[in-house]
Subunit: 221 residues, 2 copies
Amino acid sequence: MICMHHVDVHIERDIYAANNRIAKRNHDLLERYGIKAYDLLGAIGSGKTALIERAVPLLKERGIRPAAIAGDVYGDDDYRRLVVLGIPAVNVNTGKECHLDAHLVEHGLEDLPLDEIDLLFIENVGNMVCPTDFLLGAHERIVVVSTTEGDDVVNKHPMIFRGCRIGVINKIDLAPLVGADIARMESDMYRYNPNIHIFRTNLKTGEGISALVEDLLPRAK
Amino acid sequence: MICMHHVDVHIERDIYAANNRIAKRNHDLLERYGIKAYDLLGAIGSGKTALIERAVPLLKERGIRPAAIAGDVYGDDDYRRLVVLGIPAVNVNTGKECHLDAHLVEHGLEDLPLDEIDLLFIENVGNMVCPTDFLLGAHERIVVVSTTEGDDVVNKHPMIFRGCRIGVINKIDLAPLVGADIARMESDMYRYNPNIHIFRTNLKTGEGISALVEDLLPRAK
């Protein structure tokens, strides 16, 4: 078992190193095309796809051309919601894995018209743990939690919040119904990441999305 | 890379084999003490802890002595909710892993008064993907989904439903508010597992818990 553990550690290190090499390649490719990319994280049903649905019209109004990669273990439920937005979209199934990796995203990028895209959402598999260590090549990470996940959801997942520039607290309308304390969620986020930008949203109605979209806009170079 | 892949497969096989050996040991131990054990699965905030909170008083009324192991990546939010129920409870943190494994449960069992327990809930890490392949030694698996996760949550996770005897659809009161089609969730469950027992619950109020508890009762031997 001790020996086994050592092999494990080496393999693990190799997997991350290999992933990071491809992530760097993805990042360089995105830079070359002037695409700002976001790795969108959060549990199943937190509102990742809804965020894209709400952001796309506002981005288009500002002359930004969005696109999306939909990552799921199985099926194309999210992908079909993205296609009807009239944006370039690609479906990526991981089969059994609980996260996207840089290699899957690399293939996703091959299927997108990169010269027609300004901003790319990479919607990760609905999971608060697995994606943490697998960088994809995106510029920044956004994590979406919803009040219906319980107001202890942030405290339970320190790692994911440390790596995200933006934290979205969604389904704020349901907070009183499920007894969730939004202030606790916010203070837990700040505790794990003092620099995080927090937005409160109800992505069902679009409440809060404008301020979030302002923060997503690619800066002039 | 091909070589690496081979190593990967072997390691993976070894990990599952090692886990299953310990799971068998846990199972034998539980059998020896006449404890019926449930591996409780579901996403973050689906209602796993709430299910235990609601089930415990009903189980006690029937003379069943419950206990629980609380699995989380980090923290003791769930554990603290279980302790106040006045049942034997153990907190297990996985550190970085997105699932419990048989070895962690084995240590959890060491800290429980096994001769004072009839029914054990093993609350897994909130995750719809990772726990699938890691058996713990429990007799059966229960998966809890909530309507707020979206009515496509079942379709996205075929594997987990195949291995569960019981599927709980929670937060049915919120279904109209989030636009979730409960019938779709049920038919997706039956498609993946025609033998699954489905219960609709609102664990905030306790609606639906009696029928579920009836199904959990250890059968006379």
